[in-house]
Symmetry: C2
Subunit: 272 residues, 2 copies
């Protein structure tokens, strides 16, 4: 793996325009001019070793540089802002550098359901590839920072770089598989199993992102958890309390501490 030491941008979040609520940020700021010969100051930078972003895997240094040039300048998305809406044109994937998003499917009758949470290192926008149009909307759960990856450019590079091409296929396919696991959860698990599985999944993702796997702060409301798990918020709340009472976790609002991961796995119906 190429070691990328970067001169990082100012980490302060810079929103391209005035930060209204639920404003759509379809367009990133214009890509800055790039000095091709300098491997420092890379947008890939610290993502090389992060979970999820397998895009650079197996690329040679020259290709890495080219890939890096595809990334837009990082920019901020404020809490509750909409990155893209359903039925809007697809142009870019987005890499999350910092923060958390939810992706929401909207049914015609107004029913809506959260179909995924994405955090640092994850990629947003894969749903748009299918018909050049987004099928769900992505909303920031907290102030976040992302890079846009114009898909045209990415695709062009993928034509020349077999490794990148393969990584892109893999990315989408993995997301597909993730979705199927969620189907099993939604189709056959009890409320307690769902919540336990959810917490374990979050823990694993925090761990891979370099945070504590046993103690973290939820970015989403009970209602959002409920939507994701196919439950009602009261049920989620009650189930949190039950897991607490059983000594498996400690909960204080959104602060969660996993006390007995093994028991939690058992509660989720997983072995070990």
């Amino acid at each position: 793996m190429v070691q990328c030491n970067i001169t990082r941008e100012d980490p302060k979040i810079v929103t391209p325009g005035p930060a209204g609520r639920r404003r759509t940020l379809s367009e990133p700021p214009a890509a800055r001019p790039r000095v091709v010969a300098v491997p420092d100051n890379s947008h890939l930078g610290d993502w090389c070793d992060l979970r999820g972003l397998h895009l650079p895997e197996g690329l040679d240094p020259a290709a890495l540089l080219e890939l890096d040039a595809v990334f837009s300048t990082p920019y901020g998305v404020k809490k509750r802002e909409v990155l893209y809406r359903a039925a809007t044109p697809f142009a870019s994937l987005y890499v999350i550098r910092l923060g958390t998003f939810k992706t929401v499917m909207l049914a015609e009758d107004g029913r809506e359901q959260i179909v995924g949470y994405q955090m640092a290192g994850d990629i947003l926008g894969l749903d748009g590839i299918g018909n050049d149009q987004h099928t769900c909307e992505a909303v920031a759960l907290e102030d976040s920072e992302i890079c846009a990856l114009p898909f045209e450019k990415l695709d062009e590079l993928a034509g020349r770089e077999p490794a990148l091409r393969r990584n892109l296929y893999r990315l989408i396919s993995r997301r597909l598989n993730r979705g199927r696991e969620l189907m099993v959860l939604l189709g056959s698990m009890s409320a307690e199993q769902r919540l336990a599985a959810f917490l374990l999944d979050l823990a694993e993702r925090f761990r891979r992102a370099g945070y504590s796997a046993s103690e973290f702060v939820l970015r989403m409301t009970r209602d959002e958890i409920a939507s994701f798990l196919g439950l009602k918020l009261e049920t989620v709340s009650r189930t949190f309390s039950r897991l607490h009472a059983e000594g498996l976790i400690q909960v204080q609002g959104r602060a969660v501490k996993l006390l007995d991961a093994a028991a939690l796995r058992r509660a989720a119906g997983q072995s070990g």
Copy 2:
């Protein structure tokens, strides 16, 4: 769209080996030698205009020929035979020429759930791309006929053919979106809504495949429908009876006739 008149193979199903129950057919028969200059006798053949298989879209005739060469000789898969199992190496996608398959996710605790049904024109095996290993298993619901698409070859051609590359991305992305719709179904719909939506989806797929959309024979058992919809078989049976009593459908075992598509759409919670 290129009009492909083909000299079709004998439609009789030819299984490569003895046809045992749930035998895995990981390897298709060796690809036959092909005469490059002859656009007839194509494996793509009658699939050009079928729903689902968007792979050839936008390809020029020369590329079409190359794509056609990637397809293996069609071969049969008998009812209940397993095309591939979970956790086995991934090498090929498969195009269904005839028949129906189910894809099943197996949880570690033995719980299993059907995550999709594939019929003529659909592609199987996309789940394997993510980690070069299948994550679910594909089982034929009836005697079927498929072509293997060795992924290495397909990928190599995709490197040279931008349209094919794009079509491949699209294919996977669309499957992803389909899965998300299913999540909404599993997460927020009543038994009656689920079954109504299921029947409407089947109807649409039959329609696109050139069959009647209002009258068809189910290829799956009540239990398999239940697994797919996150219900129990008794509930599915009862719900069929209810829809029948309400005059929306006619059911006789697996033979189904949609009597009032509009009402059915309303029952599914869809507008129109």
